[in-house]
């Protein structure tokens, strides 16, 4: 059952990722990108990290994909002029993939079957975030604030 789900999700994710990387029209690529992240979130659900899967859906499909679509609309006049494709990148990507596969298949696996775990509840994640991870949490909040202010300043009107 789970193996079937794994194969289906893997095919969906990788096909959508390939489409996002190779479709000539930007808007199609952005939609395939959203489908890719649905697949990754499904992997997180399959692995028992439901909260991370939900966060992935909210952040990537709710925010990042919409941001990308808006950017495509704002830079619309440019489409069609840059159909260039660099085949050197394909060779490098295939070489990196071969190296990674070689490394993965040569190492001893940690364990064949996943150990049984108790369900990771949102309550537990909240407790951990507020106790042992409270400083990283504050730093991420600072980074997000700085990034959003920086993004606003970058796109503010220049003629004043």
């Amino acid at each position: 059952m789970n193996s079937v789900a794994f194969i289906l999700i893997a095919i969906l994710t990788l096909a959508a990722a390939l489409a996002a990387a190779s479709l000539p029209k930007l808007i199609h690529a952005a939609l395939s990108f959203a489908v890719t992240f649905v697949g990754v979130a499904a992997f997180f659900f399959l692995l028992g990290a439901e909260f991370v899967g939900l966060v992935q859906v909210f952040v990537y499909i709710g925010a990042v994909a919409v941001l990308i679509v808006f950017t495509i609309l704002l830079t619309r006049r440019d489409v069609g002029k840059n159909r260039g494709f660099n085949w050197g990148g394909v060779a490098i990507a295939i070489a990196v993939f071969g190296g990674l596969i070689w490394a993965i298949l040569k190492t001893q696996p940690l364990s064949i079957a996943a150990p049984p775990i108790e369900a990771l509840t949102v309550k537990r994640i909240g407790e951990v975030l507020m106790t042992s991870y409270v400083w990283p949490l504050q730093c991420v909040g600072l980074v997000l604030t700085a990034a959003l202010i920086g993004a606003l300043i970058l796109v503010m009107n220049e003629e004043r």
Binding site: T75, I104, G150, A151
Partner: protein
């Protein structure tokens, strides 16, 4: 019975390489950002897979790292897309091959 760790690592490697392909071979700035986001997602998938198959530490470290990584990726996407818009206003193009003013 979940599939073994190797399969997750192979899928993650494939996703990473597709992201690398998008970042290296497309000439549009938004495609490069899409590729970078895919590579980050592949790294997150590895974190979660290792958390699930490794020995379980008391704070769920892999899940925490993945959550923080998603937050950083969101900040990166916001700044990156703002940069794309700023570059488009200056040069009227988002083709990274034409942004060569600093080329010697």
């Amino acid at each position: 019975m979940t599939p073994a760790l190797h399969l997750f690592l192979i899928v993650s490697a494939a996703l990473f390489c597709i992201g690398l392909l998008a970042a290296l071979s497309r000439r549009h700035a938004i495609f490069i950002l899409i590729g970078i986001e895919m590579m980050l997602a592949a790294a997150n998938l590895n974190f979660i897979a290792f958390w699930r198959f490794g020995p379980q530490p008391q704070p769920p470290t892999g899940v925490m790292v993945a959550i923080f990584s998603i937050a950083i990726a969101a900040a990166e996407a916001a700044v990156g897309l703002a940069l794309v818009i700023a570059v488009y206003r200056h040069y009227r193009t988002t083709n990274v091959d034409q942004l060569n003013r600093l080329k010697g």
